[in-house]
């Protein structure tokens, strides 16, 4: 495990979380697992911070939750994206792409 780990900005974590529950409703551990798997563990996120993000977005009305039964037959709280959350996700995704594009442009011009 010598991979470089990155610190995340608050807003970035929210985008990732929204993305993960946009695909399908997940419980907290499921979200953590999905992010780890998708990024090959490149992002070092404390699970506690992840839950904070989930609860905060639920309060804002971007996520909604429901108690259900997990694949292992346990009571679990599942999160899904609300309509407002969907709008927020596409807005944030757009911002992020433009931001990343701009950074790549700067880095690319320096390399040549």
């Amino acid at each position: 495990m010598t991979r470089k780990q990155m610190n995340l900005l608050q807003g970035t974590l929210d985008v990732l979380v929204m993305k993960s529950v946009a695909i399908e409703a997940r419980h907290g551990y499921g979200v953590a697992e999905w992010i780890r798997d998708t990024t090959d563990g490149a992002l070092d996120i404390e699970d506690g911070a992840l839950y904070t993000s989930l609860h905060r977005m639920e309060k804002r009305g971007w996520l909604e939750s429901e108690w259900g039964v997990s694949e292992n037959n346990r009571r679990a709280k599942y999160y899904g994206l609300t309509e407002a959350g969907g709008r927020e996700l596409s807005r944030a995704t757009g911002d992020w792409s433009r931001y990343a594009e701009a950074v790549f442009k700067v880095l690319g011009s320096e390399g040549t």
Binding site: G28, D47, T52, E58, S70, R74
Partner: protein, 903 residues
């Protein structure tokens, strides 16, 4: 916002423990999954736990943060759900009301009338009793100055009128920061020719405005220079006159205005609604000294018998009312010392300082007393309205019992149902208040103009205080009307209602409604008795024999272009008289110097040869008048003996003759030898004999009630007091003088171009103000009483009709068992009349209990007048019978088969 637990339960809100439990479950689930997955990947359980913990971070800190977030979330949801809930409840109520438009309209109307009437009466009471006149600042320090003294006949009088020397005495009292004197509003003419108008004019000292603390709307008020005898005449316009006559044009400043005999320069405009220290409307303010000297010369300056001023003072800082009273009394007595020493004035005369807010004062005008009662009455009317609305709501809630029971069974909470009922009544009260503002506007204007024309109300009928009152009344009405049905709704027992199938009304439940009905009937009785007593008072006052025919009498006086000599004025009066006599609607006409209820003249006591002195009357006098031929006929006065003054007595050089009133003749010549006797009118030693040619019936001089007829006599000759032209033309009319007035005015106007203004009114205009308090009481009590009666009768009807509907089944069974129609009718009527009967009993007792307090305001009617009570009882019984009629008929139409099948 923290909500009380009951409300939280009502909306089934999450609680603290629920948040904690969910959080525990979620985190526990997380660790469970994390450890399970670690173990799956081949870690030891301990290692898996360690890694999961490390990955999570500081669990305690995160838990705390999560909890805070969740609590915030729940609070937000509670708030929005509460608002949603309230909106939903209001919508629910509105939908319910929409479904029953007749019911809603009925309730809104009742409430609008109840609340509207209350607002109007509050406005009246507020103006007459509770508030100082408009624009008076620091009213607590302002005192109306009155004089209490014993008159020569032993009566004690407290009066507001003082003389100019009395006023200057008060000016030296150090207990007052300022003292102001002003006249009553007097009718005066402004403009000339066809544009001439009558306006109400007050002459005042310049100090009135700073004393009351009022600021001009335009220009300035008077300063000390305007208030000098020889000052250039200036005038301040009332805002209302400025608007009416000048369209609020500011360039009116500096222009001049013809007022009476003078020409005045406009220097300022008073703010809207300003009426000085009194409540009567005013059009123009003039400097008192200038105005008085233009109109009356300077006789008033040092005359202590010329009462024409009212005075008001503002207490100096730190000075108590008692100290100022003592100082003012001392000043008044020292000013009057000379007269008192000659026994022409009361040595113990006192100054009385009355607060400018009537309710704080020692004595109320009869008008204010009646208004205070009406304020109480209007509260009764609102109570009746509330009772009735509560009853209607209650009847409805009973009809909806089954629905309520079903909803309760479905888990709707009691609290929710209560909230719905109360919301419904508040919504109704709100709608009622909206309509009430309209009612108050219309009714307010009518009441102010027709019943209280002598009080200036502000144009904004709905003032801030009144609006506050209306809102308060609405809230009270809403809660009152909601409370009863709400309590009933709560008492609905689930099983009971479901089993009963909505058809059977338990007696306990209708007890409240019966109580409400009896209460309504009782209140109606009280109001109608009040109405009856005031109507009888007014009738008694109107039926009084004044001696002359006030309602068949026109009074006309002329105003002149000022330079016209007296002889020409007399000639024009004669000419107008000739013309007026030719009018077909005029029975008879004559000239006079004084008018009953308006003016009288005392020219000293005539002497009678052979008598040392003639008997005195406690009301003063005898009062003299110079009249022309036709006067007695026009007045409708009958000669007791002898003949009236006739055309031959009018002629130049005719013998001096007199007609004496019966009371005066009786006092001087008790043996009946008056006719043909000689009277000496005047103090000169060589005064010729004035022969008494007639004795005429008595008439009232200035009051509706004068216990002993005053001494009056009439002359044909010029005594110095009557050296000028006649003052007035009296015309007896055929029928109502209104039509004749137009013709008389026209006749006079076309007679001479020297006439500036023709003032023609009906004699009743002079008498009417003395009847105002009874008229106010009679009209308002009648209006309120009828309103209460309609509302109560209708309430009774709706309850009976409703009961018949509910007892459909029972009546069907009775009919099936052979009860005949009359029995069933009897059943319904008995209920109606019992209710009304009990209510009437309670009401009569209440009215009798209050009789003692109303009596002083009545006129020649006892507070327990049996005839009035009897009429009210009959009225109530008739209304009760009518209310029972339709339901009774409906009850007889119940078809037994149908009724039995329905269950």
């Amino acid at each position: 916002m923290r909500l009380p637990p009951r409300v939280r339960r009502l909306f089934r809100l999450g609680s603290q423990t629920q948040i904690q439990r969910d959080l525990d479950d979620e985190i526990q689930h997380h660790f469970h999954e994390a450890v399970r997955s670690g173990v799956q990947r081949g870690l030891s359980e301990d290692e898996a736990i360690r890694r999961a913990r490390a990955r999570f971070g500081d669990e305690r800190a995160y838990r705390k943060a999560l909890r805070t977030i969740d609590e915030g979330r729940v609070r937000m949801r509670e708030k929005s759900e509460f608002v949603d809930g309230a909106v939903r409840t209001v919508r629910f109520a509105l939908r319910g009301l929409q479904r029953a438009p007749g019911f809603t309209a009925a309730i809104v109307t009742i409430l609008a009338l109840g609340i509207g009437a209350n607002s109007v009466m509050f406005g009246v009471v507020d103006r007459l009793l509770l508030s100082p006149p408009q624009h008076v600042t620091d009213a607590d320090d302002v005192r109306l100055i009155q004089v209490r003294r014993t008159l020569s006949n032993g009566d004690v009088s407290t009066g507001a009128s003082i003389t100019y020397p009395d006023f200057t005495d008060l000016g030296n009292v150090t207990g007052f920061a300022l003292v102001a004197g002003y006249t009553n509003p007097r009718p005066w003419t402004i403009g000339r020719g066809a544009d001439a108008k009558r306006v109400r004019v007050v002459g005042t000292s310049a100090s009135l405005f700073p004393l009351l603390g009022v600021q001009p709307a335009l220009g300035r008020f008077f300063d000390a220079n305007d208030d000098e005898l020889d000052a250039e005449p200036t005038v301040v316009l009332a805002h209302e006159l400025w608007e009416r006559e000048f369209g609020l044009d500011p360039s009116v400043l500096g222009t001049s205005l013809d007022i009476g005999a003078g020409r005045y320069t406009v220097v300022g405009v008073a703010p809207a609604g300003f009426t000085g220290a009194e409540l009567a409307p005013v059009d123009l303010w003039l400097p008192m000294k200038v105005h008085e000297s233009i109109e009356s010369g300077d006789g008033w300056l040092d005359n202590r018998n010329w009462y024409f001023l009212h005075a008001v003072g503002r207490l100096a800082p730190e000075v108590t009312g008692e100290r100022a009273t003592a100082q003012a009394t001392a000043a008044h007595r020292s000013g009057r010392a000379e007269m008192a020493a000659e026994d022409r004035y009361d040595t113990d005369a006192e100054i009385v300082l009355a607060p400018i807010i009537a309710a704080q004062g020692p004595s109320l005008t009869s008008q204010a007393q009646v208004a205070r009662w009406l304020g109480g009455v209007s509260v009764l009317v609102l109570l009746i309205a509330c009772f009735n609305v509560a009853n209607l709501l209650l009847a409805r809630s009973i009809r909806m019992r089954r629905e309520v029971a079903v909803r309760l069974a479905l888990g709707v909470s009691q609290a929710r149902l209560t909230a719905e009922v109360v919301t419904e009544s508040l919504v109704l009260a709100g709608l009622g208040a909206g309509a009430a503002v309209l009612v108050a506007r219309l009714m307010g204007r009518a009441v102010h103009q027709s019943l209280l024309p002598n009080v200036a109300f502000s144009d904004a009928t709905i003032g801030g205080r009144m609006l506050a009152f209306t809102l308060a009344a609405t809230l009270v009405a809403g809660v009152l009307t909601g409370a009863v049905p709400a309590l009933q709704a709560r008492r609905t027992e689930l099983v009971d209602a479901l089993r009963a199938g909505g058809g059977n009304v338990a007696s306990a439940r209708s007890r409240t409604r019966i109580g409400l009905l009896v209460g309504q009937a009782a209140l109606s009785v009280v109001l109608l008795v009040g109405a009856g007593l005031f109507v009888r008072s007014l009738n008694n006052a109107q039926a009084l024999d004044l001696g002359f025919d006030a309602d068949r009498l026109a009074v006309m006086s002329l105003e002149w272009n000022e330079t016209l000599p007296a002889a020409e004025r007399r000639a024009i009066y004669e000419e107008v008289l000739a013309g007026v006599r030719r009018l077909p609607s005029v029975r008879e006409a004559g000239l006079s110097y004084t008018v009953p209820f308006r003016s009288s003249i005392s020219i000293g006591t005539p002497r009678v040869p052979g008598l040392d002195s003639i008997p005195r009357h406690h009301a003063g006098g005898p009062y003299a008048n110079k009249v022309g031929s036709g006067y007695f006929g026009a007045m409708g006065l009958t000669m007791v003996q002898g003949r009236p003054i006739e055309a031959i007595d009018d002629a130049e050089g005719a013998q001096p003759v007199a007609v004496v009133s019966a009371s005066m003749a009786q006092a001087i010549w008790p043996d009946g030898s008056g006719l043909g006797s000689c009277m000496l009118v005047g103090d000169e030693p060589d005064t010729p004999c004035t022969e008494v040619i007639g004795i005429v019936e008595n008439h009232r001089r200035e009051q509706l009630v004068e216990d002993e007829p005053h001494f009056l006599y009439y002359l044909n000759q010029s005594h110095p007091a009557f050296s000028g032209p006649p003052q007035v033309l009296m015309a007896g009319t055929v029928g109502d003088p209104a039509a004749a007035l137009l013709l008389i005015r026209e006749e006079a106007r076309t007679t001479s171009s020297q006439i500036r203004f023709v003032n023609a009114t009906s004699m009743t205009d002079f008498v009417e103000p003395q009847m105002r308090s009874w008229r106010l009481g009679a009209s308002m009590f009648t209006a309120f009483g009828l309103l209460a009666l309609i509302v109560a009768g209708w309430g009774l009807y709706s309850v009976l009709a409703f009961d018949v509907a509910l007892r459909h089944h029972e009546l069907g069974v009775r009919a099936a068992l052979g009860a005949n129609r009359s029995r069933i009718v009897h059943l319904v009527f008995r209920q109606a009349l019992t209710l009304v009967g009990v209510g009437v009993g309670v009401g009569l007792a209440g009215a009798a209990g209050m009789a003692r307090f109303v009596e002083p305001m009545l006129f020649r009617v006892s507070g327990t007048d049996p005839a009035t009570y009897a009429i009210v009882v009959v009225t109530l019984m008739v209304v009760g019978g009518l209310a029972g009629l339709l339901p009774a008929v409906r009850a007889t139409r119940v078809d037994p088969r149908e009724a039995l099948r329905a269950d």
